[in-house]
Every structure is written in C-alpha cells, then in structure tokens.
C-alpha cells in the first residue's frame, strides 16, 4: 500500500488511502467550513463553501469532493479564500430572513457560525426576499423553509439513507425549494433524520419549539432507546430536569446517527401528566392513594398469606420487556427465592422466546444474535413474516442499504416498507406458505446438496420434495418467478434471513421455522429474529421464563440451580413454572390466586385479551407496577408507580445481544422497579440489599454464564456482544420437533391481519403526543376492493367481529391491498387487535397462532 503524502497549509499529511481533501484536512485537525457536506451523506459539492486553492489546478476546488493525490499542495485559509467564502455567504443570505432571534437553531446554526467567522453580509441586496410561511402542518416537525439554504442534506438523507423519499427538491434554480409530495404535510415515516442533518433552522423538531436555547442545555445523557429490540444509542438533552430533545449520535455502533420516529419523537411520555405518582390501593372497590409503606406492607402481607394458605404455586409474576436487565433479574429472583415459584414469564412468550428457542435448538445458542449492520453487507436478504422497517426500523434501513448496494432483497409477502426498493417478491395464496417454503427447500437442496454439518436438521429435511410445478399449482406463484427466486437464494454468498412475528404467530409456525432454518442452513446464512421490545432479549437472558434460570440454564438441572442457590442463599424449586398462557388458564380456573405484573399490560398484549380480563378479574390479588394506569392496572388491588427508562440506570440487551447501558437522564421521586421488588421482598422476609443497579448487575454476572465477570465498565462503550468471557454457549440439545398443522381458509371470507404500526408499540408511544398526533388511533385497514364491495369510505366507523370479540374502528383504505384480509392495528389500549384473536398455541414454540381468523365488517351508522 502506497502512502499518499499531501500538504495542507504547509502541514504534511500522510494518508493510507485516497480520501477527500476535506477528510484529509479533518484528520489533521484543519477545519474547512462546509454546509452541504455531511459525513453520513453522499458527496454533493453544491454549497461551494469549502473551496480551496490547489497548486497546479487553475480553478478553486471543493475540498469535499476532490480526492487527494500524492504530492498535492492545498491552501485553505488564504485571503482570497476568505473573500470567496464571504461572497458565498452573501449569496446564501440574500434570501435568508435573518430571523435569528426568533429561530430555535440560533446557537447551533452552521450558517450563523460561519457568518460570525467570515463577517457580516454587506446588505447590498436591495430586491425583495423570497417569502415562505412557517409550516405547522406536522405535529413532530416544523418547517421554516425561508431559512433553507438548499444544501439538500435533508433530501439526500431522506432518499439516500432513510430511503423514505418523502421530500424532494421541487422546481429548479432560484425557485428550488424542498417539499414533501403534498406540499404541506410530510406524511412520511417521521424518522426526523432530516431534522438531524439540517444545518440551519429550516427543518426542526416541533416538540421543543421555542422552549429553550441550545446553549441552555447543560446536560446530555447517552443512553439506549426504550422502544424496540434494535437498541439504538440516543442522547437525551436535558434542561431543568426535563428532556428537551432526544437525538442520535454519529458513530454509535447500532444506529450511527440515525433514529426512527419512536426513538426521536416518542420521549414525551416521560413527562406526561398521566404518569402514576403515588401508590394506589383498592379500597371499597376504588383505587385510592396510599403511602409507599402502606402499599409495600400490604403487598408483602397478601403474597405471604396466599403462599401460606394456598402455596407458592398460586402466585405468578409477569415481568417486563421494557424494564432493564437489573429489574428483570431482581424480579425473577424475587419470584423464585422470596415467593418460591418458577411461575414467571413475559410476553416474549407470544413469539420471540419460542422462536428463538426453536432456532437455537437447531443451530446452537446465539444463533439469532447477529450484527444488524451486517444486513447491509449481505449480498442477499430474505424477509418473511412482517415489515422490518416498521417493527425494527433501524434494522429495516440496513435492508434498504443492502438493496441500494445492489444486493438482492427477496420477500415472501408484501413488505410495504421495501416497496421503493423493488424487491423480488413471491406472493403465495393465503395459507400456502408451507408449500412454498417446502418447494424452496427442495430446490435449494437439489441445487446445492446437503452440507453435512447438521445431521439432526438434515434428517428432518432430506425427504421433503415439492416440485416447482406443485408450488405453482398450490401457491399460485408463477414458476418462472419461483425459479428466479430460488436461483438468487442459491447464488447467495452472504445470505441473511429476517423473520418477523407473522410467521412465528401462525398455524404450523414451528414447521415454517424448521423450513426457514433449513433454507438458512442450505444458503449458509444468518438469522435475524425481529424483536418488538427494547429488552425482550434481556428479560429472557435474565431468566424471566418458567423453565430457565439466568443465562438460559434449565431449572430442571441441579447443577444450574446449585449455582443460583449458592448466591441467593435459598433452595429453588426444580419444577418448571406456569408460562404466560398457563397463568391465564390457571387464573381462569381459580388455581392461581395472585399475579404480580411489573411493567406489562397483559390485557392489551396477550391474545384473546377478553379472556385475560375475565381471568384476571377472578384473582384474589393483582399487583401492577407501572408508569401509567394501564387497562391491567385498573383491575389491580395495588398499583405501584415505577420509574421510567429515563429515570433509572441499568442495562438493556438488544437483539444482537449487545449489552448496553441505560443511563439516568432526569430525576423523579420514586423507586426503580428492582428497588420496589427488593423492598417487598425484604418485607416478606427475604433480604435483597443492593446499593444500586450496578450492584444488581454485578450479582447477575456471577450467576449468569452469559454475563460472566462483566462490569459496567466493560460495557461502557456499547461494544459488548456476548458471549463475552462466558462459557461456550450450549449446542443444539433436544430432538427437533415441529408441527405442520395449518389452518385452512375458504374463499369469500376476510381474514384478520395484525398491523404493527411504525409509530406505536404500546403504552409509552400512545402517551407520546407527537406520535399520537401522527397516528391517533387504531384503525381497520381494508383493501379498496373490499371497501367498494361494502360501500365503505375512508373514515367510516365499522364494527369488526371475530368469534372471539368485536371492536368499533375507523376505516382506512389501502390502495394496494389484497382484499382478502383486514388489518387491525396493534398496540392501542382498549382497541388491541388481540381482543379479536383467540389464543391457540403452536405445540412446539408455544406461540399463539393468529392466522386464519375470520373477520366480518359492518358499517356503524352514526
């Protein structure tokens, strides 16, 4: 490798590879002013601020676009250059409103800073300035396009990085301006990444409009986004103990400067006036305010009584995929050591837990823990079972990036978020996915042969034979399309498979997972299992499951229990506890007397939630510890106010199994979840003394082989992905079982589909005003054809009914829908799609099957 030597302002710089003059200068600490340049975006060279002199080149050159060559001599700060920059700034200011006193950007505005440095405009422009009104069409974003300097950073971000292409430069020349399609409302993914890159005050977040000046922000806390399993790094900027805004960080490992709508605009739930502030105790049927002492003693006493009267097994706990590892660790320890039962589970049971267990059983533990950014570098990505761009938006971006790099993106089913990227897609008829997948397995096996490295898996798939012809006949997928699809899979050198919940939560789900595992095996790929909640992985890792201890150690094994017993100083039950669904059954049948819910809303998040409600109403004692008075909390005997993600320290583990620090950004009266549990535990006679979250982590690192020896210091930078110093992960263990019984469907019937909206994921997002303004409530999405047949128009109210339940919802009409299904948005309290579904479980993964549910629609006349 030849070293390139260049001279900038007399300083010699040696470079190992060709970079731009600007990058070379920056690496040597030489600042060249820029406006249109942004390190995340494609080179542009439009603003002309970075013009520099280069010897032997007659014209001035833009440092942001010019690549260095050996021996190049550059000057960046001559008198001539300063004049040029002044001239450019004057051009930028002639149409600029110069409303800095009113502008929220003042203080962190690149234009302001540059004018400050190079001198004021001389005011030689006598003509009328361009006028554009401030746009408040959107709830999350405010636009003052009069201030726009046409650097096009927002457009390049929106098109080239986010892939939403919601905005564009309209017109040309001096009339150029940036607009969304409608001219008014953005109507986009509201990622706000345009906000991040706008160097002036043209596009800004509306959430903190006119509420503070950037220099008044004294505190910045780097933490992890509370929303989904991707675990983006976010920085919470705080003033007077209030989060003023949440921004991404350039260079962070997971999201490198990008955020999604929830991450950026969803933080306001923290300061919501609906937050619970004091404990509530049900007295005479009414939830009444109480002191902490009252509440804690009452809970401790009630649980102890039930334990004595009925047994430990009459008590169950549901912990939280939104709470930290520390909270979850303490919670399961409390259930096991203080209450004495393995009746502990989470809503990860509704899909993620079972699917991950299934895949790990085939490929070994950690099989689904793959680096998210690896997707962009794959040459082939197959997506099935959901839209990654809404469930895990930042992961979705990596798939878009793969497409942009000319990778092959394949989908089974429609993936709306990838539409502009022209994926190769197969659209099998309803309930024929199994045949399609079997066909793919057959074809791949015939093309590539069995690799011979996984005998157990091969035994299961060696006899599957579905010809291309049969695939076409049964699934309706054209043979040529099928064959091209298979060719692309077979030719993949670096293959990734992305599996969404719709596959896991379907009849025959375990068999489909087996087939997908086989495809992954034959194509030598890696699996990404989408995860909707920020600490879904962590809660499982912490042992919040009825059959495993921290670190996935089965409770049934004495040596694993021993390890915990030694640290916890008590004896543990060897009997696996009730899982989430068994808890509901047991409550319904009166076997379960008390349930302790920490940071979860089972009435909204467990399928057939009507039944969950009935069952929970039969309990003798229900404790709900949460930040809001959820549907479930409203049924509780005791409600304990918890601290939110922004108010506590701890860790989250994302879907890559990256352990990251959650850092306290603001203060609030109250206790961490783990602390509340520890207090109750103490009152029940089992002492848990932790000085802080770090102390809890420290103990968890002692019992869990996954965290062995880890400290907060080790994970400070967010680059720890386990196994870290841990023992080797276990290999495939049990015999592979799968269930292929799929529900049948008939024509002329509508079926329910669950929409997992980009903007909402439950309690937190629905308490975030910006997100609620974007997507105010649950809707029934129906295809244009269906709508026409039922003479429905957008905004009509309909009653949707299934065998299990019914909901009144607004109609939203989809122009490209299939007209075979009705999509009901998930995650809205009181209107949860789970009200409409039954809860039949896949016998292997124990995930509920939510497909094949007939649904009817009736217009409600006002």
């Amino acid at each position: 490798m030849k070293i390139i030597t260049i001279t900038i302002n007399g300083k010699e710089i040696k470079l190992e590879k060709a970079v731009t003059v600007l990058e070379a200068a920056r690496s040597a600490g030489i600042k060249i002013p820029t406006l249109c340049y942004h390190e995340q975006l494609e080179r542009y060279g439009g603003c002309r601020l970075c013009l520099v002199e280069v010897e032997k080149m007659p014209r001035l050159q833009t440092a942001c676009t010019l690549m260095v060559t050996d021996g190049m001599v550059v000057r960046t700060e001559t008198e001539q250059i300063a004049d040029v920059r002044r001239g450019i700034l004057e051009f930028l200011l002639i149409n600029h409103p110069l409303d800095c006193p009113y502008c929220d950007k003042a203080g962190e505005c690149d234009l302001q800073d540059l004018v400050e440095r190079y001198g004021p405009a001389k005011g030689r422009f006598k003509e009328k300035k361009r006028k554009v009104k401030e746009s408040l069409a959107d709830s999350a974003i405010v636009r003052n396009m009069e201030r726009c300097i046409m650097c096009t950073r927002c457009v390049r971000m929106c098109e080239g990085k986010q892939g939403a292409s919601a905005i564009a430069v309209i017109d040309r020349g001096g009339h150029s301006h940036i607009e969304p399609f409608s001219g008014g409302k953005f109507d986009c993914e509201y990622c706000g990444n345009c906000v991040s890159v706008c160097p002036v005050g043209a596009i800004m977040s509306r959430l903190h409009r006119h509420s503070y000046r950037p220099w008044q922000v004294k505190e910045q806390h780097e933490t992890v986004c509370p929303y989904c399993g991707v675990g983006c790094t976010v920085v919470a900027q705080v003033r007077d103990d209030v989060i003023m805004r949440v921004i991404p960080k350039l260079g962070s490992a997971v999201n490198n400067g990008m955020l999604c709508s929830r991450g950026r605009f969803g933080y306001e739930f923290v300061g919501s006036k609906d937050r619970l502030t004091v404990p509530l105790i049900r007295k005479n049927g009414m939830l009444t305010e109480a002191t902490w002492e009252e509440a804690i003693t009452l809970v401790a006493k009630k649980l102890s009584d039930i334990k004595v009267t009925f047994s430990s097994q009459a008590i169950a706990g549901i912990s939280s995929l939104r709470c930290t590892n520390e909270d979850n660790y303490v919670f399961q320890k409390f259930m096991r050591a203080a209450v004495g039962t393995n009746n502990i589970d989470t809503t990860a049971r509704t899909g993620f837990a079972g699917a991950q267990g299934f895949i790990e059983n085939i490929f070994g533990q950690g099989a689904t823990a793959n680096i998210i950014s690896g997707l962009a570098n794959s040459d082939t990505v197959l997506v099935i079972g959901g839209d990654p761009t809404t469930v895990n938006p930042i992961l979705g971006l990596q798939i878009r990036a793969c497409a942009r790099r000319n990778g092959n993106v394949l989908t089974i089913g429609n993936v709306e978020g990838l539409r502009n990227f022209n994926p190769s897609k197969l659209l099998p008829k309803l309930q024929t996915e199994v045949t399609l997948l079997e066909g793919i397995v057959t074809a791949l096996r015939e093309k590539k042969g069995l690799p011979g490295s996984n005998a157990a898996l091969e035994a299961k798939i060696k006899d599957i034979t579905i010809s291309a012809d049969e695939v076409t006949r049964k699934t309706g997928v054209a043979e040529t399309e099928f064959l091209t699809f298979v060719d692309l899979l077979a030719d993949a050198a670096t293959f990734s498979l992305v599996i969404g919940k719709d596959i896991v939560q379907s009849s025959g789900g375990s068999y489909k997972l087996l087939l997908l595992s086989a495809i992954n095996y034959l194509a030598n790929g890696r699996i990404y299992l989408l995860s909707e909640r920020a600490n879904e992985q962590g809660a499982l890792d912490m042992g919040c499951a009825p059959d495993i201890l921290p670190g996935y150690r089965p409770v049934a094994y004495p040596e694993f229990r021993k390890k915990c017993e030694n640290v916890w100083h008590t004896e543990l039950s060897d009997k696996p506890g009730l899982n989430l669904f068994e808890m509901v059954d047991a409550a319904e049948q009166g076997r379960l007397k008390a349930v302790y819910v920490m940071g979860e809303n089972p009435l909204c998040n467990i399928p057939d939630s009507g039944r969950v409600e009935t069952a929970f109403k039969k309990l003798d004692f229900l404790v709900v510890q949460d930040i809001f008075l959820t549907e479930t909390a409203k049924l509780a005997n005791v409600v304990l106010p918890a601290l939110s993600w922004a108010e506590k320290d701890g860790t989250f583990t994302n879907m890559e199994r990256r352990i990251q620090r959650v850092r306290k950004a603001v203060h609030r009266e109250g206790m961490d979840d783990w602390k509340i549990i520890a207090e109750i535990s103490k009152n029940m006679g089992y002492n848990m003394d932790y000085k802080g979250a770090e102390d809890v982590f420290h103990e968890a690192a002692k019992v869990s082989p996954l965290l062995r020896g880890l400290t907060y210091e080790d994970i400070e930078n967010g680059d720890n992905i386990y196994p870290y110093k841990g023992e080797p992960l276990r290999d495939a263990m049990e015999e592979i079982q799968a269930d292929r019984s799929a529900r049948s469907v008939k024509s002329g019937t509508l079926y329910l589909k669950i929409e997992r909206p980009l903007f909402h994921s439950g309690t937190m997002s629905t308490k975030a005003p910006a997100l609620i303004n974007i997507y105010p409530e649950a809707v029934a999405r129906i295809g244009a054809g269906t709508a026409q047949a039922l003479s429905l128009t957008e905004g009509d109210v309909v009653r949707v009914k299934t065998k299990t339940g019914s909901l009144a919802l607004f109609v939203a009409i989809e122009k490209n829908d299939d007209n075979l299904s009705v999509k009901i948005s998930n995650n809205f309290e009181g209107k949860s799609a789970f009200r409409l579904t039954d809860c039949n479980l896949d016998p292997v993964t124990k995930a509920p099957c939510l497909d094949g549910i007939e649904i009817t629609i009736e217009k409600v006349t006002a």
Partner: protein
C-alpha cells in the same frame, strides 16, 4: 390511472431502458398527455407504475420546464423571446397576445383556448421570431401571420 393505450406505450418505453427509473421522463410525457397536466394524481400514477417514490417523481417533473404543473388551455403557444427573437420583435408579439387574446405569459386565455409559455430559444433563431403551437413550428412571425396561424387553432 392510465388507459390501456398508454399502458401499452409505457411498456414499450420501458423496453428501451435497462431499468424502470430511466423511463421516468418519457412516462411523464405520457401522463401529461393523458391527464392534460401533471396533477398530483398523474404523479402518483407514474410513481406507482415505475416504483419511483412519488415525491421524487414530482421533484423530477418540476425540474423540467416542459412538464406542466397546472391545467393548460386547449392549445399551447410556446413563444421564444430569447435574444435573437427579441431583437427581431418577439416582445411586441407578447404584447399582442395579451391585448388581442388576453393571454399573459405563463397564463391561459379566459376562454381556455390558449396557454402561453415564454421559451428560451427554440432553435429557430435564423427565422426569428418563432414559436411552437402544440408540436408545430412557426417562424418569421409578425402580428399579421401570428393572428392567421392562431386562427387555425380553435
């Protein structure tokens, strides 16, 4: 949505290019012909057909002067007023169109018969002043022959 002839034409256009995006300009022409101008619906139809984001399609469409962003009269007068035409009297023709037919540059005659667009050089400088009416060139214009020519377009 496009009618069948247009869909056929678009399919044929697409065969000329290695990807569908490259067909955007010619397809916008088809849309303009069919919708009369590039209305939001026209952009959406084009975007859907070519899998191009609709905002991008509109961004591209508005860049080019010959795509119309508002409804047009039945006949389109494209009159050049660039230097060669100007020094030979094109401006007088603009005034004439205004006084005689009530058409402002960039506007439409009140009866919807003509729209007028001022052009930057249409390559007829040797026979200036010149204009296009719809797809036809007319050169060496003066008020008299202008009136005659326009008479042919009702």
């Amino acid at each position: 949505m496009f009618n069948e002839t247009s869909i056929k034409e678009i399919e044929e256009i697409r065969t000329k290019y290695p990807n569908s995006r490259a067909a955007l300009l010619p397809v916008l022409y088809v849309a303009q012909r069919e919708f009369g101008w590039l209305s939001p619906e026209a952009y959406e139809a084009v975007a859907d057909l070519l899998n191009v984001p609709k905002a991008t399609a509109r961004g591209v469409g508005t860049f080019y002067a010959m795509y119309k962003q508002k409804p047009m009269g039945r006949h389109l007068i494209q009159l050049c007023t660039n230097v060669s035409c100007m020094i030979l009297g094109a401006e007088k023709l603009v005034d004439f169109l205004k006084s005689k037919y009530g058409i402002e540059p960039g506007g439409m005659s009140p009866d919807g018969r003509f729209s007028l667009v001022i052009m930057e050089c249409i390559g007829a400088c040797g026979t200036a002043p010149a204009m296009l009416v719809n797809d036809n060139f007319y050169e060496n214009l003066d008020k008299k022959n202008l009136e005659e020519i326009l008479g042919k377009y009702q």
